[in-house]
Symmetry: C2
Subunit: 237 residues, 2 copies
């Protein structure tokens, strides 16, 4: 419990944090160049970057690769129990959602996906990769794996809309039981590239395994979130 040593990094963190919390640096606002900041705080770029990385870990600022550092907007609240879908969740919280389809195709399932969906080895699954934004900022990279038995012809649909609604409208399927698994870990390469996050920066990996109203395992989602973009809620008992 002794007093902490006065570190350069700590001092820089406090100074920047104070500016942000008092609104002098508004959410979405770009910070000055690293070289400028290191002059301002009279230190080297290495030390300055260390401070920025710490603030990034706390979720106060974020970076866009090669573009600079920005003040982080507020987190999205993700309620596991309500099970609303992305667009509805974002809109309900007063922001604007958009979805970009990255790829969609039928392909052999990985062993992990077979296990989650209880498919026999060498099964084919429909893989849909999407990037989702809040107010233009990429926050979520998601890979969906669908049991093709239940979703014939889905590859011809508009897959940038909500899958939840598509399931209901075209297939009369809606979600029943859902299993979540939440893992704080670094983002894998595909997710980091899509989110334009520097490789190895922390992220949140959420796996959802979804059953429909008849208890059939219909699909699973591998979601990779920016760690600073989300807050998870749940209620039990």
């Amino acid at each position: 419990m002794q007093a902490l040593p006065p570190r350069a990094v700590t001092a820089i963190c406090h100074a920047l944090q104070e500016q942000i919390e008092h609104g002098l640096l508004a959410p979405g606002c770009k910070l000055p160049a690293e070289r400028k900041l290191s002059e301002v705080f009279d230190t080297t770029r290495i030390t300055l970057r260390e401070a920025l990385v710490q603030l990034e870990a706390r979720g106060l600022i974020y970076r866009e690769e090669r573009r600079g550092w920005f003040v982080a907007p507020e987190r999205l609240t993700y309620d596991l129990i309500e099970r609303s879908h992305f667009h509805a969740m974002v809109q309900a919280q007063g922001r604007e959602a958009s979805t970009e389809l990255l790829s969609a195709r039928l392909q052999p399932a990985t062993a992990a996906v077979c296990a989650r969906l209880q498919l026999p080895p060498l099964s084919s699954v429909i893989q849909i990769c999407r990037l989702r934004r809040i107010n233009g900022r990429a926050v979520l990279y998601a890979e969906h794996y669908l049991n093709p038995e239940y979703f014939a012809g889905i590859l011809d649909c508009d897959l940038s809309q909500s899958l939840t609604e598509l399931y209901e409208r075209h297939y009369g399927i809606h979600y029943g039981r859902v299993r979540f698994e939440i893992l704080p870990t670094a983002l894998p390469v595909a997710a980091a590239q899509a989110l334009k996050v520097s490789a190895g920066s922390p992220g949140l990996h959420i796996t959802r395994v979804n059953s429909d109203q008849h208890g059939r395992l219909i699909d699973c989602d591998l979601e990779y979130w920016r760690h600073d973009a989300v807050r998870i809620r749940a209620e039990a008992g």
Copy 2:
């Protein structure tokens, strides 16, 4: 989607990861000194440390402050729905749990705690700070805030045991509805010190607000986990 540039950091990560995954470096095992490793990989300590930090973010290795780097043991699975308590959870997964009482006292509640427990301003609450270990490794720093109205005399009990069991045995109280909030963020100073984690390293902050069998708000927990020590499960619908 282009090939990634061959980075020194990436190469080091892969080399170490491969050693770990093939069991040449067993869980709990200490890595060689940073200066040794930087010689082995023919690079500087700064670069070498960058690689270690990335592996740390992925949860493959962890550090104990000023003691060195170690291969990470497997994560604990934390099931939000089962609502078993820490010791039971750890034992059920074949490991050994221990709890160290750091402090326990009656004190004025912070505004945040008042809000969570729906107490009037300036209320007193019982604060219990504890450090919890798995196989000797500190993984969780927890602050419990109890509504003193329901727990008279609890400060004289042995508070290193399970509070869940204590509630039941001495007060006839058990948990009803529980609300969770999960936030990936850097560990605050108190948690970082207790867990002997370097300040600002990523962690997982879980808030639990607990009601009893009669629906009364009885306590809330602020939990700070090492990010690499836990995997969260939940089921809905």
